[in-house]
């Protein structure tokens, strides 16, 4: 896909996120919308996988460490052919494979069970160590973390281990949207100087605009070329990206839109705030 095609895909995925969350009546809005460009890049450009054979033994691994953002993963997986988009409407409902937080054993294509924060990098480290023992080179492990998640000590335990063993097939990406449930990250528990923190733990750091798909793809390409250490991409994103009344507002961290808000959000997304025409408006 070309970058403009990926941008349109991201826009479709955002609309599905809004529909899913409205239908579910609970869940997180800001994070999934902010992460959509990253997930679109991962599933439609960066990662090596087979949606018809999710357990293919040469696939790359994607670990969503901040499980509460799973609506963006479900929506992107549906677009990537793992399951029918109709199933997205079952999010958070009884009997659904799309649990409120991701459960590996419920849905083929998920690589971990998460929700409680701070565990993704540790699991990635275990996987990378196993791959090294088995001499499975050329498999990448992509980990998505949130910035609020970095409050967890477990993250830094893993950061030390991955650095110690030079686990260079781990590429983390932090959704640096500066919000968490109780407010801005820098007032809840300051994270800056975030780049210096990761560098001092022995990681190569790349900082990008995480809502620019081309920048995301370039950063992953760069990360794969760094061989001497694990890489952390700090992706600056706009929480609630694409929907004016959600952008930058921490209140939308853990809240879904109601029906009226969803209609408004979908209209904005269809037109990219008036910038483009989508099929629905033609």
């Amino acid at each position: 896909m070309t970058v403009p095609e990926l941008e349109l895909k991201a826009n479709d995925i955002r609309q599905d996120i809004i529909r899913m969350l409205e239908e579910a009546g609970s869940g997180h809005s800001a994070g999934p919308l902010g992460l959509t460009d990253i997930f679109t890049a991962l599933y439609f450009d960066v990662m090596n996988y087979d949606s018809q054979n999710p357990n293919w033994d040469k696939r790359d691994i994607l670990l969503l460490s901040n499980g509460h953002c799973v609506p963006v993963q479900y929506a992107t997986m549906a677009h990537a052919g793992f399951f029918d988009r109709k199933e997205l409407r079952t999010l958070r409902k009884f009997g659904s494979r799309l649990q409120g937080h991701p459960e590996r054993t419920k849905l083929p294509g998920l690589e971990n069970t998460s929700g409680p924060l701070g565990c993704g990098l540790s699991q990635a480290s275990g996987m990378a160590l196993a791959m090294r023992m088995d001499k499975q080179h050329h498999r990448w492990i992509y980990v998505v973390l949130s910035d609020g998640e970095l409050n967890e000590g477990n993250v830094w335990e893993a950061a030390m281990l991955a650095s110690k063993y030079k686990l260079n097939n781990i590429i983390g990406i932090i959704d640096r949207n500066n919000i968490q449930i109780d407010g801005p990250t820098e007032s809840v528990m300051p994270l800056e100087d975030l780049s210096a923190k990761w560098e001092s733990f022995g990681w190569h750091v790349i900082e990008i605009d995480g809502n620019n798909i081309e920048a995301v793809i370039d950063a992953y390409a760069m990360a794969r070329a760094i061989v001497e250490k694990p890489v952390m991409i700090i992706a600056h994103t706009v929480p609630g990206k694409g929907v004016d009344f959600m952008e930058y507002d921490f209140h939308w961290h853990g809240m879904p839109p109601d029906l009226e808000q969803a209609k408004l959000a979908l209209k904005e997304l269809r037109t990219l705030k008036g910038k483009i025409k989508s099929e629905a408006d033609e």
Binding site: T105, N112, G118, S122, G126, L129, A130, E157, Y165
Partner: protein
């Protein structure tokens, strides 16, 4: 009754820390299966992982003092088809990292083998912080988790080999001090089975871990009082072998449980739950009674907290007197 091939209890018994059996078993498991790997949180010698580390340095991971990372790295190793044994002191793992075990191992259903060494009051002089007494309770409450406590070092070795073949998450508790070796290479062991070590008719003593030997010694003492006790060893606390236990209790109608752990939620808790629902029976639980430990020699502490053969025998008299 299955032949148990125990050591003659009236002979001079060899003593050895249970954790030594784990160390030998892990090395053997590593020889049998290349996928067996090990990780430790800065306690490689004390948890006896050093034998494995020396034999298979490329399959050993030093995690450092980071128990949350220890078990989550284990989850990642298992995701790639490895059979990871992860060890620390029980007070730290599963003491500190219960949520990671719950989410990334049990709910995620990855067959990580968690080894909690230095469990129980007999840890001794290190004191209450290091005497893990709640591990059986917190591990038993987790769906998918198998909970194990070997009775001696010989059984620990067999248990470790069985764990390497088991497809579920496992927790095994180990003890620090040397304790009597009463089983032999021929004594049977399977995960999920309880074993009748001694037949009787006056009461059933059900014990696990280091307390099984004490239960056998108590049964010997009780003979002198004219009481013939049945002794059941429960190396698998979860899933519980209900059949063997209920068969005995239907006969004796009086039960004493014995464990070096809190009676809340441990073996005594498990047996009480079973009996309360299926066959209400008078029960006395020998174990730690909702308190923390303290510093002292192992023997002083076992005596002070009521965890010796003598205390089991006293409990036996008490249940028999209350039997309806």
């Amino acid at each position: 009754m299955t032949a148990m091939h125990l050591v003659d209890l009236n002979s001079e018994l060899k003593t050895e820390p249970i954790r030594k059996g784990f160390g030998r078993g892990l090395k053997k498991a590593g020889e049998l299966d290349i996928n067996v790997v090990a990780a430790c949180a800065d306690l490689t010698d004390s948890t006896q992982m050093s034998l494995f580390k020396e034999a298979f340095p490329d399959r050993f991971i030093e995690i450092g003092v980071a128990e949350q990372n220890l078990v989550t790295v284990g989850s990642g190793l298992a995701a790639m088809g490895k059979i990871p044994f992860v060890s620390s002191y029980a007070a730290f793992s599963p003491g500190r990292n219960w949520e990671q075990i719950r989410t990334t191992i049990c709910l995620n259903n990855r067959p990580v083998k968690i080894i909690g060494s230095h469990a129980g009051i007999s840890v001794g002089p290190d004191g209450a912080t290091h005497q893990m007494l709640e591990d059986l309770a917190i591990m038993r409450s987790l769906p998918n988790m198998v909970v194990l406590a070997p009775g001696d070092s010989v059984e620990a070795e067999k248990m470790t080999l069985a764990m390497a073949k088991d497809k579920q998450p496992n927790y095994m508790r180990l003890a620090r001090e040397a304790t009597p070796v009463f089983t032999t290479a021929d004594t049977p062991f399977e995960i999920g089975k309880a074993y009748m070590l001694r037949e009787g008719h006056d009461l059933t003593i059900i014990a696990t871990g280091t307390m099984t030997y004490q239960a056998l010694a108590a049964a010997e003492k009780l003979i002198k009082d004219g009481i013939v006790a049945e002794v059941i060893h429960v190396p698998t606390i979860k899933p519980l072998d209900k059949e063997v236990i209920l068969k005995s209790i239907r006969k004796t109608r009086a039960v004493v449980t014995a464990e070096e752990a809190q009676i809340i939620g441990g073996l005594g808790g498990a047996i009480s739950e079973l009996l309360g629902e299926v066959h209400p029976t008078i029960i006395h639980r020998v174990g730690i009674k909702d308190r923390f430990g303290e510093s002292g020699t192992p023997q002083e502490l076992l005596e002070h907290f009521g965890l010796t053969a003598k205390h089991i025998a006293m409990a036996a008299h008490a249940v028999i007197s209350k039997r309806v």
